[in-house]
């Protein structure tokens, strides 16, 4: 039984269909990547999965329940940390923001310290987000998401706004957290290598009106290494296949 299922999702903006019958099932504990070119509605699909955006037709189920609002099991992580972190709150209070409405300020702050330690940011609680580097800010956003103890994380290209080396660093950190916490993950990205390196399966999203056209098993052994995994024949083969699919336009 899948943990997150998107069933025949349709979405139109101002009468223009952008998504047609997108169907996808993410298993419990699975790392699912949704790969697609820019502007194909990846974020739209993810926001629908998070209950942040209502679909025009179709059903989203999380843990077997059809959802119409953001469910407590799921947390959405945004691409632009500068927009989703609150600049008037310290790093600690940004993380605490995820839980203080449920647990109160004291408990929320204690949890914030714990999750900040897990992303390697102990001692940065009193800083403000804008005093940190981009990679560190994205760690704060990840810590905030983890503080809510979600069963499923919905990642909207969270590694795309940082430089290449920082990205590898965040990948390693995130894979570690994912395996230790036994999270279910749905990641949308346009980065083929990122999708292969991180995911168990990769769903390919077509151009508008978009839908899931194919699903690929990655099948690479874990734990994965940022350098050697990328040199495996299996990795390169899948990379080539996926790039060919992405570059093949419907009108070409």
């Amino acid at each position: 039984m899948s943990f997150l299922s998107l069933d025949a999702i349709n979405k139109s903006f101002a009468g223009v269909p952008v998504m047609r019958d997108a169907t996808l099932a993410v298993r419990e504990g699975e790392f699912m990547a949704v790969l697609g070119p820019s502007g194909c509605g990846k974020s739209t699909l993810l926001q629908i999965a998070a209950g942040l955006l209502p679909p025009s037709a179709g059903t989203v189920r999380i843990a077997g329940r059809a959802i119409t609002a953001p469910p407590p099991e799921a947390v959405y992580v945004f691409q632009q940390y500068t927009r989703s972190l609150l600049p008037w709150r310290s790093v600690r209070d940004n993380v605490a923001f995820a839980t203080e409405h449920r647990l109160g300020k004291r408990r929320a702050r204690a949890i914030a310290e714990e999750t900040l330690a897990q992303v390697g940011l102990s001692g940065f609680g009193d800083h403000f987000p804008w005093q940190l580097s981009g990679g560190m800010q994205q760690r704060v956003a990840i810590a905030r998401a983890l503080a809510a103890e979600p069963a499923i994380l919905l990642l909207d290209e969270p590694f795309s706004a940082v430089d290449a080396l920082t990205r590898l660093d965040l990948h390693a950190l995130f894979l570690d957290i994912w395996s230790r916490r036994k999270l279910t993950v749905m990641l949308v990205t346009h980065d083929v290598e990122e999708a292969i390196y991180l995911a168990d399966r990769i769903a390919l999203l077509t151009y508008r009106p978009s839908s899931i056209s194919e699903i690929f098993e990655v099948g690479l052994p874990r734990p994965r290494d940022p350098i050697t995994t990328r040199a495996l024949p299996q990795f390169l083969e899948l990379r080539q296949t996926l790039l060919q699919k992405l570059l093949a336009r419907p009108d070409a």
Binding site: L52, F78, R83, S84, P87, W88, A98, H101, W130, A148
Partner: protein, 258 residues
Amino acid sequence: MTSRLRNASGFALVLALLLLWEVSARLGWVASPNWPPFTAVVAALARDVMTGEIPLLVGGTLWRMAAGLFAGGVAGVVLGLAFALLPFVARLFAPIVELLRPIPVPAVIPPLVLFLGLDDTMKVTVVALTVFFPVLTNTVQGVRAVEADALAMGRTFGIGALRRALFIVLPASLPYILAGFRIALALALVVAVVAEMIAGEQGVGHYLVMMQFAGRAEEIYATVLLLGMLGYALNRGFLLAERRMIHWWFALGRQSDA
């Protein structure tokens, strides 16, 4: 270094003009009983401050101004938030606001006098009306500038609408709201004094008119000077408070008018 020099040159011009004032009065370049020398004005100001007459008047004016600023400001922020967050409120109130906004506030003093009398209630209301519109407009603008991601972030963590309004929307729009208050602050002093000049027997405005009738030029200039300094001090104080309240905004490289 150059900017320091530039500041110094601006200050020098002020001193030069004050000197010109002094000399023109002392040497009779402007021979009029209505043109007392600057030093005499300062002496008059010092005298009236010492007797406690001026501080009392200024205190009254400032109190009415502050009360109006508070009432109009709170109303502006609350209605501004409601305007921007609740579409039906905007639909209901927008036409009224647009019709009332262009009316010059001093023009509503006579009708307000009929209903509220000559005293504090009327003057505080006049100031509140003045403050209300710029604060309202800026609050609405501020709310529109809130990042959509910040609001969606609140929703993904299951934070309710009221809490999102108080802990995301309000702080995020605070720089805009404070900009509205800064405009309102200057207007509030103007309107408070004008209201006192037009009606009642209170405050600096009334004192100014009395001195004019009595032909006491020194006191008139002393009062004007005092109001100038008061306005300057209020603005500086406000800017300092603003720096503290939204330090993050300045740290992010946003410009202030300071």
